[in-house]
């Protein structure tokens, strides 16, 4: 089967074209570095099967980030296959440089000029003649002229005339030996491209990104407020009035289905234990998590609209300076926003960050961004203890975690002996009106992966927790839950949570099961309290329940869940991306911070509950002063180290290489 490699500069529409050609639904967005690994799919043109490969975006074969290296190595390894280089019609002056570089490696090349309808004038034939390769003008988003590209792929004859295997080697040698030579090479190519575009009658409307909207969204004073407002709106849509309506409608429907299924099973099955197992172990465990699908869908919809609009790139520009102060960079914003959905996929997106240290820091910061799997916990507890201010409370939790992330990362930055500032360069994409169909498809794929996760890990974990909670060490069904395997074990270790006021075996079981998947926290609580999700809240305030909270301990529990270690799949992806050391660092750091912060919250809360709010205030102020003094001392110590280092070129710090 012939392979077709889709490559090109970042954000030129490769994944959109991949989705159009192969009828897939891979994540594509209006920002740099969405695709971080090679994706392959078989597609058919005129009875012939092809393997379509979507590669991460590259600027050249001089790969700086991990994803760029993956892409350039893949092209070099598959140079005998057909390459479709996707270029943005709005940005031909720079995008064609990569086309010329690929032409040096292989002649098996087709150039797909995407978004061609957005430029005033471009003669496809003349560009093709002057460039010496087949050029097809398309619009992958609107699926225009895609059939023309399909025909071009099908009719293309693989040539073996000119294959310069040494080109990428040549590039790196030139870069390493003499940059002047490289600059001359690029300058010549730019000159050639300019000439080529004039001959092809290329005329574009004007540089994009200079819209009136940028005046507002890139305003130094308004931008942070707008961002905060947009995020608050997202939370109020998800947990406020709209979220409530969808959730109650969906839950009503699901409970009806569950009752029907259960009554059907009651007729068919005579074994009471088996019935109870199916009801409490499987049906209620799965229903618990499914009940939160509307909220997850709403949040994904809001985030996907922001991504497609091109807003996130502006956010990363606005926050680059602030993020640098805590050791991250503007590009970390993309991973951090992805973290609101799923930490595991957000960890993988850190590939588009240049330096390994920067990736490591972003990965350590990610667990502070609360993933959607924790939503059920916040939703249940806030509906019971803070029903009137549910949306506001959840928003405050997210903000609290982000502020804590800023503090922790700032302390890390201060502790660094050498202050390596990251570099930040980002192309600002054109604002685009989000396509509703695409936004819905992307959001549904998030929901789909959530449901699939339930299908495997959560269903199995629910069953395991149920069995361990209903069987004793002799494998007999217990009536007194205190004799069950998991309860006996958890009871022995529940003292660990005593300083947090949570010394209940059930809480420890729920938190440990949350390590498998955060969704499991709520479903475990349902199993432990032997109740239905609809009455879980009521059981949590009932002091006779196995797991029950007061207002204070509910806050402590929320804080602990908000901050404690990411789930196993996230930790595994950290190990894959950055090694075992970073994985353990992330696990230990989050566990320690969750414990420490929950303990502080509990102590402060105790004083408030006992009417000694002034003592609580004094403690807060003292903690803040101690922290400021410690940070200042560390900073002063490190300044002495820094001042001894000077740049060899400019004997100062002008060139930024000190």
């Amino acid at each position: 089967m012939r392979k077709v490699l889709l490559c090109g500069n970042p954000n030129t529409g490769k994944t959109t074209l991949f989705n159009t050609l192969s009828k897939s639904n891979e994540k594509a967005s209006n920002w740099h570095g969405v695709t971080v690994g090679v994706k392959e799919k078989v597609f058919k043109i005129k009875d012939e099967n092809f393997i379509l490969c979507d590669l991460p975006g590259i600027y050249s074969f001089n790969g700086l980030s991990e994803e760029e290296k993956i892409s350039s190595n893949y092209i070099i390894e598959n140079k005998d296959e057909m390459i479709v280089c996707v270029v943005d019609a709005n940005n031909l002056k720079r995008n064609l440089l990569l086309v010329l570089e690929i032409k040096n490696i292989t002649n098996n090349l087709i150039v797909a000029v995407n978004m061609a309808n957005e430029v005033k004038c471009l003669d496809e034939k003349k560009l093709s003649e002057n460039l010496g390769v087949k050029v097809v003008c398309i619009d992958a988003r609107k699926k225009k002229s895609v059939n023309k590209l399909k025909s071009a792929i099908c009719d293309f004859n693989i040539k073996t005339l000119k294959q310069n295997n040494e080109f990428s080697g040549f590039l790196s040698n030139v870069i390493n030996d003499k940059l002047d030579k490289f600059e001359n090479y690029v300058q010549d190519k730019f000159g050639y491209i300019d000439e080529l575009l004039v001959k092809s009658g290329y005329d574009k409307i004007g540089a994009y990104g200079q819209s009136k909207l940028d005046k507002v969204l890139l305003n130094p004073f308004l931008a942070p407020l707008i961002f905060l407002g947009i995020m608050a709106l997202t939370f109020f849509i998800t947990f406020g009035f709209i979220g409530e309506i969808f959730t109650s409608m969906f839950n009503g429907f699901m409970n009806g289905v569950a009752e029907e299924v259960f009554s059907f099973l009651s007729v068919k099955l005579k074994n009471d234990n088996l019935l109870l197992f199916l009801k409490e172990g499987i049906i209620s465990g799965v229903l618990t998590v499914l009940g939160f699908l509307p909220q997850i869908l709403l949040m994904s919809l809001c985030l996907n609209i922001l991504e497609d609009f091109g807003y996130l790139s502006r956010v990363s520009v606005m926050f680059d300076g602030y993020l640098k102060k805590i050791g991250l960079s503007g590009k970390s914003i993309f991973s951090l926003v992805m973290g609101f959905g799923c930490t595991t996929s957000a960890v993988i997106t850190t590939r588009n960050l240049g330096l390994k240290e920067e990736r490591g820091k972003t990965v350590l910061a990610l667990p502070f961004v609360s993933c959607s799997a924790k939503l059920p916990v916040y939703s249940v507890i806030c509906s019971v203890f803070f029903a009137k201010y549910k949306a506001f409370c959840v928003f405050c939790l997210y903000i609290f975690a982000i502020l804590l992330m800023v503090l922790v990362m700032y302390i890390f930055k201060c502790l660094e002996k050498t202050q390596n500032d990251n570099f930040f360069i980002l192309e600002l994409p054109k604002y685009r009106v989000p396509k509703l169909k695409k936004v819905f498809m992307d959001s549904f794929s998030v929901v789909k992966s959530f449901v699939l996760k339930i299908g495997f890990s959560i269903l199995i974990s629910s069953v395991v927790v149920y069995l361990l909670y209903n069987l004793n060490f002799k494998m007999q069904v217990v009536t007194n839950k205190a004799e069950s395997i998991i309860y006996v074990l958890a009871d022995k270790f529940s003292f660990i949570l005593a300083p947090l006021g949570l010394n209940m075996a059930g809480v420890l079981i729920a938190l440990i099961s949350g390590l498998v998947a955060k969704e499991m926290v709520v479903s475990s609580l349902v199993i432990i309290n032997s109740c239905d999700i609809s009455v879980l809240g009521e059981t949590l305030i009932d002091s006779s329940s196995v797991v029950h909270f007061s207002s204070l301990t509910s806050i402590v529990f929320l804080v602990f869940v908000l901050l404690y270690s990411p789930c196993v799949s996230s930790l595994i992806s950290v190990r894959k991306e950055l090694g075992v050391r970073v994985m353990f660092k992330s696990f230990l750091l989050q566990s320690f911070i969750a414990y420490l912060v929950s303990f502080i919250v509990y102590i402060l809360g105790l004083f408030v509950v006992k009417g000694m709010w002034w003592l609580s205030l004094i403690l807060c102020i003292s903690l803040a002063i101690i922290m400021i003094v410690v940070i200042k001392l560390i900073k002063r110590k490190n300044i002495h180290v820094e001042t001894n280092i000077k740049c060899l070129n400019c004997e100062g710090n002008r060139c930024g290489n000190y």
Binding site: E183, G209, F424, I425, L428, N657
Partner: protein
């Protein structure tokens, strides 16, 4: 003659690249590939002194870059 870097420019200024001065050759090469080559025209769209970031137009493309990079791009 005093060296003038890209971050010394104000919003609306148009200039021409003189040289990219940076020790890290790979990052320098990336800047060159992005269009920062000798005699290339640049328009400054935004310059955020507080957050040390700027937005420029080069070869018809809108690029955001931080001062660490901008101060290594010498202009006329």
């Amino acid at each position: 003659m005093v060296k003038k870097s890209l971050c010394d420019l104000t919003v609306g200024e148009k200039t021409v690249v003189k040289k990219v001065e940076m020790v890290d050759k790979k990052i320098c090469a990336r800047l060159i590939e992005m269009g920062f080559v000798k005699n290339q025209k640049i328009d400054v769209v935004k310059n955020f002194k507080k957050t040390k970031t700027m937005v420029v137009i080069i070869r018809g493309c809108v690029l955001a870059l931080d001062y660490n990079l901008a101060k290594s791009i010498m202009v006329y």
